[in-house]
């Protein structure tokens, strides 16, 4: 849609926009973040430092950014999509080059008040870029191979850079998140069927190649796969994280051990207990009730995003909302699967709960875009 089309529609103007914000979504995000603060307070042994305080500051900053972004008309953001994608891509290349030149294995850029990971930024800008692409693309060309190849390349270029870091978790999020947008835009089923089948057979080929002359992975990589499939085979080695995480989770029971009473996490049995494995602390201390509640909150975020997108006639806004919701889904789905032993350990944080500046800010910025699309949708 062009600016003119938007102007034709009735779109709220001025301070009245605040009334059109998706307030339930704001509340949901705040509630989830509050759970995050509680858990960070607990794993710090009952202290606001070192995690709760900076996390809360970043959340406040992120909420402000979200409101500001929400007030800016969605068509401005659509016009910024290409720019944002290119900036994120350049930053990715830059940390890659700088990282190899003299900054060690550093993958972030120091902004003074926080460290920004370009790969986190890319999660949003890629979705924006793809949404803008399909907004621009003639509807009839959506499934044309040439016009399918372009978004595939848009996805694979940053993925290649992120994989090189190496950051498997982010790569998966980018590929699947991008795939979500393409699927939502209406690319033909067959493409997805072929890619899924291709991926499946590739995995099959890799696994069967083990022990043969044409083995596709190194032995240690196979061992990692073994560990994922059966963590108990190496309980103190690579399977340690999964085993301990499952013990923490399971021992929570229905009602949990109580706030600050989680022995597993408090006694250092858990790795990364304030970042990627924070869900285990929640599950241990608040039990099934706490864990299921968080899952329900996440699911409600999805529901509100989807319902907002479905009622949005603006193609960019709708795709952007759904794409961001999809990425959000991937965050928590991969993280929870990982700590429950359903997926291998890849570095994916629990959205809005895990300690970490980039992810928190980027997610709130993304929800700012969702809010903008919600506020400015044609009515």
């Amino acid at each position: 849609m062009s600016y003119l089309e938007y102007a034709l529609k009735t779109v709220p103007k001025g301070p009245r926009k605040v009334l059109y914000l998706n307030w339930p979504l704001v509340l949901l995000l705040t509630a989830i973040a509050a759970i995050g603060f509680t858990m960070l307070y607990s794993v710090a042994g009952g202290a606001f430092t070192p995690w709760v305080e900076p996390q809360a500051k970043r959340f406040a900053l992120g909420m402000m950014a979200m409101f500001v972004i929400a007030m800016v008309p969605i068509w401005f953001w659509r016009n910024m999509a290409v720019m944002g994608y290119l900036v994120a891509l350049i930053l990715l290349v830059w940390v890659e080059v700088a990282g190899t030149v003299g900054m060690g294995a550093q993958r972030w850029i120091d902004l003074g008040f926080m460290r920004l990971q370009p790969s986190e930024l890319m999660k949003v800008t890629l979705v924006m870029m793809l949404a803008a692409y399909y907004d621009w693309l003639d509807l009839k060309k959506t499934s044309h191979p040439l016009w399918v190849l372009i978004p595939v390349l848009l996805i694979l270029v940053p993925v290649a850079l992120v994989l090189k870091q190496p950051d498997l978790g982010t790569s998966i999020l980018l590929v699947v998140g991008g795939g979500f947008v393409m699927f939502l835009a209406g690319v033909h089923w067959l493409y997805f069927a072929v890619v899924t089948a291709g991926g499946g057979s590739l995995i099959w080929a890799v696994l069967t190649s083990r022990g043969t002359d044409w083995q596709l992975l190194k032995d240690y990589q196979f061992r990692r796969i073994d560990t994922f499939l059966d963590p108990s085979s190496d309980p103190l080695g690579a399977g340690y994280h999964i085993t301990q995480s499952k013990i923490a989770l399971g021992s929570g029971g229905i009602t949990g051990r109580g706030f600050m009473q989680g022995t597993q996490s408090r006694l250092n049995f858990l790795p990364e207990k304030h970042t990627d494995f924070i869900f285990t602390t929640l599950a241990e201390e608040f039990g099934f009730i706490g864990a299921a509640s968080l899952l329900a909150l996440y699911t409600l975020v999805l529901v509100f995003c989807i319902s907002s997108a479905i009622t949005n006639k603006d193609r960019f806004g709708s795709l952007l909302t759904l794409g961001i919701a999809g990425t959000f889904f991937l965050f928590f789905a991969v993280n929870m699967s990982m700590v429950m032993g359903l997926a291998p350990v890849v570095g994916v944080p629990l959205p809005l709960v895990s300690y970490g500046g980039s992810a928190m800010l980027v997610l709130l910025v993304a929800f700012g875009l969702v809010q903008s699309a919600h506020v400015h949708k044609p009515r």
């Binding site: 699927f183 209406g186 021992s251 929570g252 429950m340």
Partner: protein
């Protein structure tokens, strides 16, 4: 670019459709996650909870202090010494090598100690204390403590370690402790978790082993919370254990020391029994060994010295060694005959120097024979033919029964290792054991304590005590447990005619005190303490016809291991028996020459309670005795032992 509204609607509908499909899939996955959560947290929660507890709580056993062992007067025989050691903790030490070098200037440390410590410290987590030096002297420990500021991460620690202040005197009786071995674990059906503690020490032999359950005590425990790397976070609860119970023995450590010293240089055993209670006052076996070496872990060189010694220092000859009792068995045969009524105390037997039974000729030790002998003379002069004769009348089974009545062939229940049964043969036994009929020659050999008859010095001592007291006392080694007196083991008088016992005792008195007695040289001069006894000389080989024709070899001409065993049993004072003693000197030659003097010295030492005065001895021997007393290698009581100077 302006899009037709139709296009917009189409796009919107398509996105909505796909959004619902994808949304449904995402919800489905979320549902899957929720289901998995429920499965883990609700259904399998118990299992995970258990795993978590195991992760978290570590049980640490607190070893109890082992019970002490005292002699009858309260002198310590087995103690728990403070064992000082120095440990180092890497994370506190910083540069371990530097700290160890500084430590080296304070206490003796070999290069090996340093290397071993450095190697071990590399293997362990940084907070685990590693022992640098063990069994330090108090002075060394004090030096380390004073210099603590210069030695970060170095910590003195104290533990308990068994020690035997009396050294070798009680090695055979008390035994020693040592770390639990796999063999011990496989042998013991003992579920005590203490045994799993590395280097936990249990009794290996002797009282330490037999009274293990009394001495060990019960473990306390401390529940500690640990984190994933095993660091102790805090103690959750602590239950103190119960220390082992203290044992008081019936033995007298000064007497034991005297006996061991008296036996020095000989392969011999002595058992001194209190006639009235059965209390074992001394149970000596020579040579002995230092049990402290076993506690600390004996070097293989030292161990080889012990095992290759032909005097077998490791064997406890007093209860575990069995010997043909020789002539000391003659009281048994005599009493069996008297009780059976096959002869009276005054009946005589003609001794021509030998007797013919079956197709064999049995010789008396005195080739010319003793002429007419009655019971009294036969015991005094130890005439063999008399016993050959009466034994044929009474039969082996009745002799054997009498032997059992007096304590031979009976296994006494005393807490020492490998207490021997001895052997009192019967017809049935020979049939069962050798599948052969009992022949008359067997009876003849048995009648003078040869052949199949075997007895331990302990059994001989008990036999003598029963003869002396006329009661069926049994030996007692534990006097009290934690101050509570153990019962005296006696049920009543022996089932033997007292007149017969008196006759035998009278004859035994004559052995020591009549000029023709075989132990007259070893008499006690002091009238109130006079000793009654019986010598014995038991062959360890057969004397062949050829040897006999050439003249029996004198013991001194034979190699040590082929000489006769010398035995003596006795009690004193004759008028009012108090102590009974048995002496066996392995390959010592004759009982009267080798064993009786020892018995006399031991009896006198027991009755006086100190070094016997010379006027207790016959005046002709006093010079010799004085010299012998001065040369006794007694433990020096003026000098404190090195262990006590530490504390």
């Amino acid at each position: 670019m302006k899009r037709p509204p139709r296009d917009m609607d189409l796009s919107s509908r398509r996105i909505a459709r796909r959004a619902l499909v994808l949304g449904a899939a995402q919800m489905g996955f979320a549902g899957l996650l929720g289901w998995q959560m429920r499965r883990m947290q609700v259904e399998d929660a118990e299992e995970y909870r258990m795993l978590a507890e195991e992760n978290r709580i570590n049980m640490r056993l607190l070893p109890p202090a082992r019970g002490l062992i005292f002699d009858r007067n309260g002198s310590p025989i087995a103690e728990n010494d403070q064992n000082y050691r120095i440990v180092i903790v890497r994370e506190d030490a910083g540069d371990v090598a530097v700290v160890l070098n500084r430590l080296r200037q304070l206490i003796p440390l070999s290069d090996d100690d340093i290397d071993r410590t450095l190697r071990e410290i590399k293997r362990r987590s940084s907070f685990v204390p590693v022992t640098v030096s063990d069994r330090l002297a108090w002075d060394d420990l004090a030096r380390v403590a004073v210099n603590a500021p210069a030695l970060p991460g170095v910590r003195p620690e104290v533990g308990l370690s068994r020690s035997y202040p009396l050294g070798s005197d009680f090695a055979h009786v008390v035994g020693y402790v040592g770390p639990v071995s796999d063999y011990d674990l496989s042998k013991l059906q003992d579920p005590d978790p203490l045994l799993q503690i590395p280097k936990f020490q249990i009794g290996k032999i002797g009282i330490e082993a037999k009274e293990e359950m009394v001495l060990r005590g019960r473990a306390g425990n401390s529940q500690i919370e640990v984190n994933a790397v095993g660091r102790v976070m805090r103690e959750l609860s602590r239950t103190e254990g119960t220390a082992g119970r203290n044992l008081q023995l019936t033995m007298d450590e000064t007497l034991q020391n005297f006996v061991q010293a008296r036996l020095d240089g000989q392969s011999a055993a002595v058992v001194v029994t209190d006639v009235r209670t059965g209390d074992l006052l001394a149970v000596a076996s020579s040579p002995s060994f230092d049990p402290n070496k076993f506690v600390r872990g004996i070097s293989s060189a030292d161990y080889r010295l012990l095992t290759e010694n032909k005097y077998r220092p490791l064997a406890n000859k007093s209860v575990q060694g069995v010997y043909p009792p020789g002539s000391t068995f003659k009281m048994v045969t005599a009493l069996a005959a008297l009780e059976a009524g096959v002869m009276s105390t005054e009946d005589t037997v003609w001794c021509p120097g030998y007797i013919t039974a079956g197709d064999r000729r049995f010789h008396c030790w005195k080739r010319g024979g003793h002429g007419h002998v009655n019971l009294h003379e036969s015991l005094t002069q130890s005439c063999d033919v008399y016993y050959y004769d009466v034994a044929q009348r009474v039969g082996i089974d009745r002799i054997s029964a009498m032997a059992n009545k007096l304590g031979l062939g009976v296994r006494f229940d005393i807490p020492m290792s490998a207490v021997a049964d001895g052997l009192t043969p019967t017809r049935a036994w020979k049939q069962a054991r050798h599948g052969a009929d009992w022949v008359i020659g067997d009876t003849l050999n048995a009648s003078i304590g040869q052949g199949y008859v075997l007895a331990s010095p302990l059994q001989l001592s008990v036999m003598t005590a029963r003869l002396a007291s006329g009661t069926d006392i049994s030996p007692r080694l534990i006097r009290a447990v934690d101050g509570v007196e153990e019962p005296v083991l006696r049920t009543g008088p022996l089932d033997i005619n007292p007149a017969h016992l008196r006759a035998v005792r009278r004859a035994m008195f004559a052995v020591s005190n009549s000029r023709r007695g075989t132990a007259y040289r070893s008499r006690i001069e002091e009238e109130s303490l006079q000793m009654a006894g019986k010598t014995g000389t038991s062959q360890v080989r057969n004397i062949s016809k050829a040897e006999r024709a050439r003249g029996v070899f004198r013991n001194e001409d034979l190699p040590w291991e082929r000489r006769d065993h010398a035995l003596f049993v006795g009690f004193a004072p004759y008028a009012d028996p108090q102590v009974a003693v048995s002496v066996v000197v392995e390959h010592g030659g004759g009982g009267s020459a080798a064993a009786a003097p020892i018995a006399r010295d031991v009896v006198l030492r027991t009755l006086y309670g100190e070094m016997p005065p010379l006027n207790a001895y016959p005046s002709s021997q006093r010079e010799l005795i004085e010299e012998q007393q001065r040369a006794l290698p007694l433990r020096d009581r003026g000098d404190p032992s090195p262990e006590s100077s530490r504390a």
